[in-house]
Structure formats: C-alpha cells, structure tokens
Subunit: 185 residues, 4 copies
Amino acid sequence: MNFQTAERNIIQEISQTLDGVSPDSINQLIEKIEHADKVFFVGVGRVLLSLEAIAKRLAHLGIKTYVVGQITEPAITSNDLLIVGSGSGESMFPLGIARKAKSFNASIVHIGSNPESTMRQYADLFIRIPVQTKLSQPDEVTSLQPMTSLFEQSLLLLGDSVALMLIEKQNIDMHNLWQFHANLE
Amino acid sequence: MNFQTAERNIIQEISQTLDGVSPDSINQLIEKIEHADKVFFVGVGRVLLSLEAIAKRLAHLGIKTYVVGQITEPAITSNDLLIVGSGSGESMFPLGIARKAKSFNASIVHIGSNPESTMRQYADLFIRIPVQTKLSQPDEVTSLQPMTSLFEQSLLLLGDSVALMLIEKQNIDMHNLWQFHANLE
Amino acid sequence: MNFQTAERNIIQEISQTLDGVSPDSINQLIEKIEHADKVFFVGVGRVLLSLEAIAKRLAHLGIKTYVVGQITEPAITSNDLLIVGSGSGESMFPLGIARKAKSFNASIVHIGSNPESTMRQYADLFIRIPVQTKLSQPDEVTSLQPMTSLFEQSLLLLGDSVALMLIEKQNIDMHNLWQFHANLE
Amino acid sequence: MNFQTAERNIIQEISQTLDGVSPDSINQLIEKIEHADKVFFVGVGRVLLSLEAIAKRLAHLGIKTYVVGQITEPAITSNDLLIVGSGSGESMFPLGIARKAKSFNASIVHIGSNPESTMRQYADLFIRIPVQTKLSQPDEVTSLQPMTSLFEQSLLLLGDSVALMLIEKQNIDMHNLWQFHANLE
C-alpha cells in the first residue's frame, strides 16, 4: 500500500464516521461546555491523548479544562462537566471516575461507540461515534485500521470541530487566542 | 456553523494537506523505522500528543518506541532514530534534543512545515506537511482552524498511515497485535 | 515555625517510620525484583510520583521498569512483578490494576500502611509503612504534616534504600550507571 | 548492606544536607510564593518528580501551581513566580524556560547545588542545596547514593518543609485541605 492510498483510506473512514454523529448531540455538548464552571476529561491510552489535545485547545478558548490525574487537579462540583471518552463504555478507570463524579452531582457526557454499555447509567448525554465494536450494529463504519484507531482519530476531530463551532458562536478573535496559551515553550 | 460543516471543513483541510506530502519521503521514513533499533519521539504541546499516539501504535506493531522525557527512557545510540515533530522547526526543546541526538550519531527525521528552519542542519530527512506558517509558501494549505490544529491533526494521520503501511508490508496479523498491548487497563 | 524546625521534624518522622518497616519484607522485595523479567508500578497522586522516581532509579541499575499508564507499556506476564503503592489499600485504580495483574498470574507486592485492606487478597507480599491511617494502630508514627505526606516521603526513601542495597549486593559500579540513563536531556 | 543501614545512611545524608540550607533563603522563597499570582515549576527527570510533588501539595494549600509542560498551562506574567529545580544549573530545558520567563518579567527562584551556574543570570533568588557536584566545594555533603538521588530527596523535603511552614504561618486548618484536593481518584 502506498502513502496516498493509506491516508485516503483513513480520511474516508473518518469522514464516513463523523457524518454519522448526531449533530444534535454535539449541540447539546456545546451547551453543556458553555454552562460548566470547569470541564474535566477522562480516558485511557490513545483515547486519553485525543482528549488531552481537546482539553488543551478548549483551554485556549478560555474554558477551564482539566484532565483527571494531572498534577494539580481541583475538586469536581455539581457545576462542572465530566467528559468521558471510552469506545466500549466498559473501561474500569473511566467507569470508576464517572461513578464518583456522579456522586458529586457533576454533569457527565460519554463519547463512545457502544450505546448499551455500563457507562449508560452515569451519562446525562451519550454521543455516539459509530465505529465497529465487538457487538456490531448495522450503521457502524468498518475499518482497515488496527485496534481502535478510527475511534481515537474521530474523537480528536470531533473535539476540534467543537472548538471551531465555539470560535464562530462566541465570535472569538483567533489572533487573541495566544493570551491563554502557554508562553514558556 | 453546524457540526457537519465544521467536520467537513476540517476533513477537507487535512485531506488536501496529506495529498501534498511527498510519498517518497514517507517511504524513506518507513525504511528508517524498520532499520532502527529504537525509535525516539520529541515534540511539545499538541504536537507531542500526536507523536505519543504514533509511538503507542507503532509499539503495538512490535517497534521499540520511546518518548523523550518519559519516566524510563534508555540512552540513544547511533543505531537509533529520533523523530522530531515541529511545524516551525524552531522550538527550543526539540532543537536542543536534536542537537544532542546528532552528537550521538543517531539518525534524525524532522516532520515539519517550514523547510528553511534551524532544524534543517540536524535532520537526515525532512518530511514536509504543507500547512500555513508565518513565512507562507505558494503550496500551503490555509486553514479555518485556530493555531496549528491542522498540523497536529495531519501529523497524527500521517503516523497512522505509516502504521497501516507497515502492517501490510510486514504482513502483520492484526488479531495478534494485542500481545504487545498493555493488558492492565 | 522556622525552616530548621520544619525539616528536622519531617526527618524525625521519616526516620521513625522507616525504622518500623520490617527488614525481612524488604529482603523479600529485593528477591522478587531480582527474579522478575519486568517490574511494573501503580499508584495515584503523590504516591505515584514516589513510585515513578523509584522506577527511574531502578531502570538505571539495569532493571526493566514500567509505570502503569505510560505511553508505551508492554503486556504483563506471570514472570513479572507489580509493585502497588497505596497507603489505604483501598484506592480504586490500584485495586483494579492489581486484580487484572493477578489474573495474568503476575507477582504482586503491596506497599501500604493499612494491613487489613481489600488489596490484601491480591498481594503476595505486603510491606507495611507504619504511618497514621484512619484506623489507627498502636505502632503508627503520628505526623505533623498534611494529608499523607509522610507515607509518600517514606515510600521514596524506602525505594532509594532498595536501590542502594541492590548496588552493593550486585556490586554495581556507580560510574557505569549512566549507560542506562537517558542521554538526551 | 541491610535495610536499616541503608535507610539510616540516606536519612543521615539528607539531614546533614538540609541543615546546610540557608533558612533565610527559605524565608525569601515563602515570601515570593505568597506574593505570586501563580507559581510555575520546571525541571527534568527525578528533579521534576520532586517538583511535581511540591506543586501538588502547595495546590492543596490554595496556591495556584503549574508544572511547565502540563496539558493546560496558562501564560506566565510579571506577577508570577517560576521555581527552577536544577542541581547543576546547566540543564538545557530549565535554562531555556528560565530565559523565557525572564523575558516576561516573572520572578525566578533557582534551587540548585552549583552556585556558579549559567542559571545565575536569570535567578532573583538562589537556594543552595549543598550536595556534591562535579566542582566540589568544601561544605558539600558527600553521598553513598547513585547519581543525584541526594539532591532529589532533599528537594522534596525542602518543599514539604515549606508546606509545613505555610500551614503554620497562615493558620491553615488541615482538615479543610481536602477541599482543594482532587476528589475523583
């Protein structure tokens, strides 16, 4: 396989996947982000990396974002939002964190692929990224790629789409974004 | 802007960008990865997150990958490869690491957008992701997105394209990949 | 309180605590480390930071160490050792990881303060750092310090004591240690 | 060497080292911490781990602390403090960050062992941890331990001493500290 075939296949997969995400669920996510005092993110592995990239970009837009487990992490309250990234909705660590966040009455959004997961009981909003899971559904995008790459890639671009929508909605001047950006590196 | 417009714009930008990457430079990168004993990655911010995702996926393919600064990081030698991610090729930390790696005779690949950077003197191979930089060039993809999002997104998908190419080239059975995967989370 | 009073109080607390650790349990830990193919570490918060420092130092002695959750983490096997740091032995994440490691028949050492914890069922060896816990025991060292600082400090120095013992036992030439040390920073 | 000999040796080394730190320099550090809007920390390797532990504890006391390179890092300003940990005062990354922080007129404290380093030109305050360096000085504590373990251990306990002093000085109720503590893990 040459590079052009590889990248075009991947982009085609992501495009088909994101076209299958409910625009209404994204609007609800944006509303929750705008109403939250603080936004926390939890996930593991490459999913966590996508969430960290989203947290970093949203922080540049002036949103107070935190990744669960970071060095200086504040307490979560009922005015806050927890965004969980987990394709299966069955990973131990995100489930445990969601359960705790729920006990503090935080709002919880689950971004995943499996709509019938254990996470369901904790989530106020479920955003489905329709990629292949073990229990396949008719509308799922199949992937040439290894493991859950397609989920992780789609998650990153979903988050960056939200950033783009927030910039337009809030009429943010992109030239001023650097004021919230780390200036030491 | 609604979600569909946002994600389609982003995907269009990435697609145009990756189509502008030299397939030959990717083939050279793959050869270098296959010949290296160990592959190190260095970058900062969201670029680092994309590199970490690439390092994680390549590790699943059986490649020994390390991120500069991780808790247990071995010494680099002349049999190793350092992959630097830096759009501008001017960031202090990657430049300093590249200079040190060069002094140990490691091979160095720079993935960036600016072809005339300080990094040029250290890199054995430069892979250009043709996105907008301060010194614009005629072939650069312009972006609606804030900051260097387009570079970071394209970098992740470039790395995942390399993973897909390696899987086909080495005839790797994707069902066996999990043997190299962390099994504790 | 002036600096000298503060540091002397802290050192006095740590000294009393480490004098209460069973030397025999440390000898067993050293034997387990020497017999393991790979050594994994798990913990949260400042306990994790102490474990990361220990993992880093032991790696310099030529031991293959990994922190659960790091970017490139191999699979654990029955030839490996998991070292859990948890004062209470009740933290969700370490408990979940210990349960999984047990299912792969890895050897498990728990370093904690509470001898009657849920972790007990997973641990092949329990090393007690006798500091104040909620259920106090007669031999516990009380502390002027906030939260679980005394546990975290004692854990770091316990690990560094193990490093010192291994250097002498294995007759390691300290001038050669740098060969295993990251040389890029 | 048995465990008791090892830990007592290490504690003796740390005790002698911290007794050699200037109490006046610590008082100045505390004043700078109390007057800063935000406190940033920078270091590499095990020194960074000690700084992260200090940042975490000070955050529990209500101080706004950040580690350079963390996912969501605000911009530094002239009202902020940068604490650099570097024994030699010659490490590339901390030097580069200190230079940048200086250009934003932030206040800079260097905690190190070598008083004649390149860092000197950036630091408003130098706190000396008198441990063995390559250019030895008559008052330095020699160490049985490998590499710079004694510096890293002393740095952690110096920071925890500062935390203890701040608690007394500001009359902080330790039972209330958990309000600033992450409640999700």
